[in-house]
């Protein structure tokens, strides 16, 4: 099982890897000594992966500091160094283990269009596959037909579904949903929140309120708050991460749309900023296209194996 996940992850990243290998991998292949200009090229490739200026600057500093000792050993040594440095930047405490709390409440948050609803559908499938019952709560009462979209996912995955009226107060919908989950004894509640730009103070306050409301209905809820990031996002993801963390705490990241050519290097920048782990990776639109994150494969994709 674990192996097939890893294969899936690698396969999904292959496109990312192919393109990056042309950038970094070729640079770092073979034993020809490195030239100073190579460092600039590496820097550009990392920037092109959306790792962001601070993370790249940090990595480059390490490479430059150690460059003399690997200069003669050639490129393979340099790749090893870069790999090590990126893994270090991605290092993070392991996610808190799931406790016996029932229902286990998970919030999905993020800006508009990153793939929150689709991710919930995929998470629901994983819950069902693990033999747990799940309730999907459509707390996105703003976007037209958001609840309908979630309902389709509920039907596809055999999860229960709760919604309010369009335009209803999301906290009210959440309260009802959590009460329903308690009385029906669901194992997991997945809460789909409306996409919101992190710059909208009132919407961020609404999110903070939803966290409080959840804690009132279910002790310690939300047990997880997953920030959904789109692999195509640029530097703005950092600002997003900061604001969402401020509004209600973020316990983990989901990186979506990694099946394109976007490298998702922004995840490195965000992990570095928030110190929370990447939990899942989205590799397509089908329900099974969500796999656990694997740092090693991810870094391989960034710098070549």
């Amino acid at each position: 099982m674990a192996n097939s996940f890893l294969d899936r992850f690698k396969q999904g990243l292959s496109r990312t890897r192919d393109i990056l290998n042309a950038d970094v991998g070729d640079l770092l292949r073979g034993r020809r000594p490195l030239e100073p200009a190579d460092l600039d090229a590496i820097e550009e490739a990392l920037l092109a992966a959306d790792m962001g200026v601070p993370a790249v600057a940090e990595a480059m500093e390490v490479l430059r500091a150690r460059s003399r000792e690997v200069w003669t050993e050639g490129r393979d040594a340099m790749r090893g160094l870069l790999r090590q440095e990126l893994l270090r930047q991605l290092e993070q405490p392991a996610p808190a283990a799931r406790t016996a709390a029932r229902p286990w409440v998970v919030f999905l948050v993020g800006v508009n269009g990153v793939g929150k609803t689709t991710t919930i559908g995929k998470l629901a499938r994983a819950e069902r596959a693990a033999g747990r019952t799940a309730l999907l709560v459509a707390a996105d009462t703003f976007r037209a037909a958001a609840a309908e979209q979630l309902q389709v996912w509920a039907e596809r995955t055999g999860a229960a579904f709760h919604r309010g009226a369009e335009g209803a107060d999301p906290s009210a919908v959440l309260t009802d949903g959590l009460r329903a989950a308690r009385s029906r004894g669901h194992d997991t509640v997945l809460v789909d929140t409306a996409g919101r730009l992190h710059t909208k103070g009132n919407l961020m306050a609404e999110l903070a309120k939803m966290s409080r409301v959840a804690a009132r209905e279910v002790p310690d809820a939300p047990h997880e708050t997953l920030l959904v990031l789109d692999a195509t996002l640029g530097g703005n993801a950092l600002a997003q991460a900061r604001e969402f963390a401020k509004a209600g705490g973020v316990t983990g990241l989901v990186l979506t749309k990694l099946d394109g050519t976007a490298k998702g290097g922004v995840a490195v920048a965000v992990v570095r900023e928030l110190g929370v782990p990447i939990r899942h990776v989205g590799l397509g639109e089908a329900a099974e296209d969500l796999v656990p994150f694997d740092a090693s494969s991810f870094v391989d994709a960034l710098v070549g194996e």
Binding site: D50, G52, A146, Q149, T199, D230, G234, G260
Partner: protein, 450 residues
């Protein structure tokens, strides 16, 4: 919008300012800073390279080094080149067609905002006297067609929704037939989000294009996208011949460099900008104004336009006349506050004023709005006599006003003090039309929140 980029560039030029002539090293220093700023703003690194080369050639040329105000000269070069990068001047129009309906294909990646933009464009067309028909050919994402239909119902837009059809091409053809028979002049086609490397879906898009012969193929781009924006924009352009770009989610704080890059590599103008979630929050994109904002030159034109839209010119002139006679009352002050409020969120107004882009960020907007509402409530709680003759406001009257407006006496005092300051300020400046009045007003308001 693009705030951080303009901060950095302002920083660069502040350090250059006031040193007389520039040396080539100075130019290099500035270019390095600009490079970093552009990279941080998500401008594609290849675009950055080309851009800097063009700037360097012109900056090191005689016009900058010999200029008496070299920083202004560099700024002008950067500005001109950036406007060129955005794809030139104003392009906010949709190509019509003599053969009705003119078809507009909305394309882009998943989650870029196609459906919302489709509804916004339709509304924009309706306001221009057109009769658009909308249709969604997104048969993949659950409830995608439902979303467009709901948006149509909420906003009085005609949406074609043939529920029994499940093939994008068949849906499109049915919509074309419907549009022709009813006589719609535009057909807006919302397509499914797709990855530019998904060959099958890209082929479907090509087929939709062949079947509908669109006058416009718009690529909907998310302002928050990173370096990959260039690749996808290029691929869409190659496969379906993009004619323009719609930039979405510009109401956030994304620096939008990716959008700049996408426009630059495809050579397509950015036609519209989405600046909010509501259907009326779509603006024609204006490259020169946007660049002005990036560079901290301010969007004076936009501010004046906004002010003119809101300010009742006659009323403003009446206020000026009163002022001259020393009759500026709390009632006039209330009108002014109301006008400022109508101009929109404080930070967006402030960021349009040259040199205040940074100040806009420091202002606590929500606090500002709250103060404004409170001031209005306080003035509303006064009797007409009190508004005309603030001098009658003794302690017990102030207590009553505080109670009536749900505030404290200190708040009442503060508003009165601000009123006296505003009156003094206006007397100093004297005269002037509505625009001048607005500028003074903004100055007064800044002082309150600094």
């Amino acid at each position: 919008m693009f705030d951080a980029l303009s901060d950095r560039l302002q920083g660069v030029f502040r350090s250059l300012r006031g040193r007389g002539a520039l040396t080539p090293e100075d130019v290099d220093q500035a270019l390095r800073e600009i490079r970093l700023a552009l990279l941080e703003a998500d401008v594609h690194f290849k675009v950055v390279k080309q851009f800097l080369e063009r700037v360097r050639v012109r900056a090191v040329g005689q016009d900058v080094l010999k200029s008496l105000t070299p920083d202004q000269a560099v700024l002008r070069v950067v500005r001109d080149e950036m406007v060129a990068l955005f794809g030139g001047g104003d392009a906010a129009r949709l190509q019509g067609s003599s053969r009705l309906p003119a078809v507009v294909l909305m394309t882009g990646l998943q989650g870029s905002g196609k459906t919302t933009s489709t509804a916004k464009l339709a509304r924009w067309l309706v306001q221009g006297g057109h009769h658009p028909l909308l249709v969604s050919t997104d048969v993949y994402r659950p409830a995608a067609r439902e979303q467009l239909r709901t948006l149509g119902q909420q906003n009085n837009l005609q949406v074609h929704h043939p529920e029994s059809l499940t093939q994008p091409r068949a849906i499109l053809e049915s919509a074309l037939t419907e549009a022709r028979s009813v006589g719609h002049d535009f057909l807006l086609v919302d397509t499914a989000g797709r990855l530019h490397i998904d060959d099958e879906l890209m082929a479907e898009l090509e087929e939709l294009k062949r079947a509908s012969q669109p006058t416009e193929v718009l690529y909907v781009a998310d302002a928050m996208t990173g370096q990959d924006a260039v690749k996808s924009a290029e691929e869409f352009h190659k496969r379906v011949g993009t004619t323009g770009i719609v930039l979405t989610k510009l109401d956030g704080d994304a620096r939008g460099g990716a959008a700049l890059s996408a426009a630059s590599v495809t050579g397509c103008p950015i036609k519209f900008a989405g600046v909010g979630e509501r259907v009326d929050e779509l603006e024609p994109f204006q490259a020169d104004r946007m660049v002005g904002r990036i560079l901290g030159m301010g969007d004076v034109l936009g501010l004046i336009e906004k002010a003119e839209l809101i300010v009742d010119r006659e009323k403003a002139e009446e206020q000026v006349r009163k002022l001259r006679r020393g009759e500026f009352t709390l009632e006039d002050y209330r009108d002014q506050l109301g006008q400022v409020r109508k101009m929109g969120p404080l930070d967006s107004v402030l960021s349009m004023i040259p040199g205040l882009g940074n100040a806009a960020k420091d202002v606590d907007t929500e606090q500002g709005e709250r103060d404004l509402r409170r001031a209005l409530a306080i003035i509303d709680s006064m009797t007409p006599l009190e508004r005309r003759e603030p001098s009658v406001l003794n302690g017990s009257r102030r207590k009553r006003i505080a109670k009536g407006s749900g505030t404290h006496v200190e708040d009442v005092n503060r508003v009165l003090k601000q009123f006296v300051q505003a009156r003094k300020l206006m007397k100093q400046f004297g005269g002037g039309g509505a625009n001048k009045m607005m500028k003074r007003l903004m100055g007064g308001r800044m002082a309150q929140f600094r």
